[in-house]
Subunit: 196 residues, 2 copies
DNA sequence: CTACCAAGTGGGAGACACTACCAAAAGATA
DNA sequence: TATCTTTTGGTAGTGTCTCCCACTTGGTAG
């Protein structure tokens, strides 16, 4: 009973091969100019297999678990924090949980994702989902209904504030620590009532 | 010199035919189950022509001019109003400018956009761009720099709040006045610091 | 070692969104 | 009417993604 060890290892290797070759090709010739067929060939698998590992071409770039980490950290925050404070702490913790190498890789993929419109759109959609989930958690914690206008508005405001910071650099692939610092600042502004 | 009148009219009619038939088919059989070929056939044009009027299938549902109307109204507001007051007035005017039929279609299209993941993703991406424009407008009004973080965060929060209300639970019967009223309520909440 | 089962792979056929191109039709102009 | 421009339809193709089936490979049990 060796419990599929070899299989698991092979799958991990295949997955990494696909992802690494894809990123390399994207870097070398751009996202659109790279076909799934090319990626599959470079990773020495068939196109069918590519789609078994990644449901779409976008998912190769999209596979970051930042949102999950952030959500997890969010739920671990003490209940006396305001939601925005909890989100800020969650972001900080999620970043801190990366080791430097992972962090660098994550930033590269994010920057890349932001530069390709379809991928960027999907990233934003996932961000919105995460924030929605957080709103749900907040609703539960404060004993409010999940459709409560105040909760919805709150979540919407958070999403909008984050987007407002994320947006201006869309072209200039500037995903760095400073970006997250500015997100934190913007959320702090939201917390203090958005003074103009 | 009759200046292309017939042509313009025909183009408008073709565009409307494509859009209306598309929406009808989406309603009847769903977005994914409806092919461009079917839409084109229903509108009595060729698939080529479909793509001349709408660059992608998504754009049929995405073409809403609410933003433009709102910005127009925003800039027409008297300068002594506070930004929030101006935004509230602008939104009220933008909604009022629709005739009932247009308004119904707009709401249906929004609901569709939010229920289909790809379209929703693109909507969010466009929201990001709208935030830019809004920040610019607010900056102009308050005499601040358009890149000012506080201004951007503010614009983002406002649009985020509007979005959160505009994304209604699907298949509801929220009446028109109610919708605006809820937007206004949500903005009031934002103004008072989003109490939870 | 062998036989067997489950999991993973490759390859073909095809749907569908979308592009590039060209020839025909329709509208505008003189 | 003849001519020029815009719009259209049709054809051929590319690329993403799905379905399906035969084949191979890893794990397991006699």
């Amino acid at each position: 009973m060796q419990q599929d060890r070899l299989r698991e290892r092979k799958k991990a290797r295949t997955r990494a091969a696909i992802r690494d070759n894809a990123l390399r090709l994207f870097r070398e010739q751009g996202y659109h100019a790279t076909t799934v067929e090319q990626i599959a060939a470079a990773a020495e698998v068939s196109p069918s297999t590519f789609f078994r590992y990644f449901p779409t071409k976008e998912d190769v770039v999209l596979g970051d678990d930042f949102d999950e980490r952030m959500f997890g950290a969010f739920e671990r925050q003490p209940p006396d924090l305001t939601p925005v404070a909890a989100i800020r702490a969650a972001i900080r913790e999620a970043i801190a949980a990366y080791d430097p190498q992972e962090w660098a890789r994550f930033r590269e993929m994010s920057a890349f994702a932001m530069s390709v419109s379809e991928v960027r759109a999907r990233s934003l959609d996932e961000l919105a989902r995460t924030i929605d989930a957080m709103a749900e958690a907040v609703a539960k914690r404060t004993g409010r209904a999940s459709g409560d206008l105040a909760v919805r508005a709150y979540a919407g405001a958070v999403l909008g504030v984050v987007l407002s910071v994320l947006t201006p650099d869309l072209g200039d692939a500037a995903v760095d620590d400073q970006l997250y610092q500015r997100i934190d600042e913007a959320l702090a502004l939201l917390e203090s009532g958005l003074p103009l």
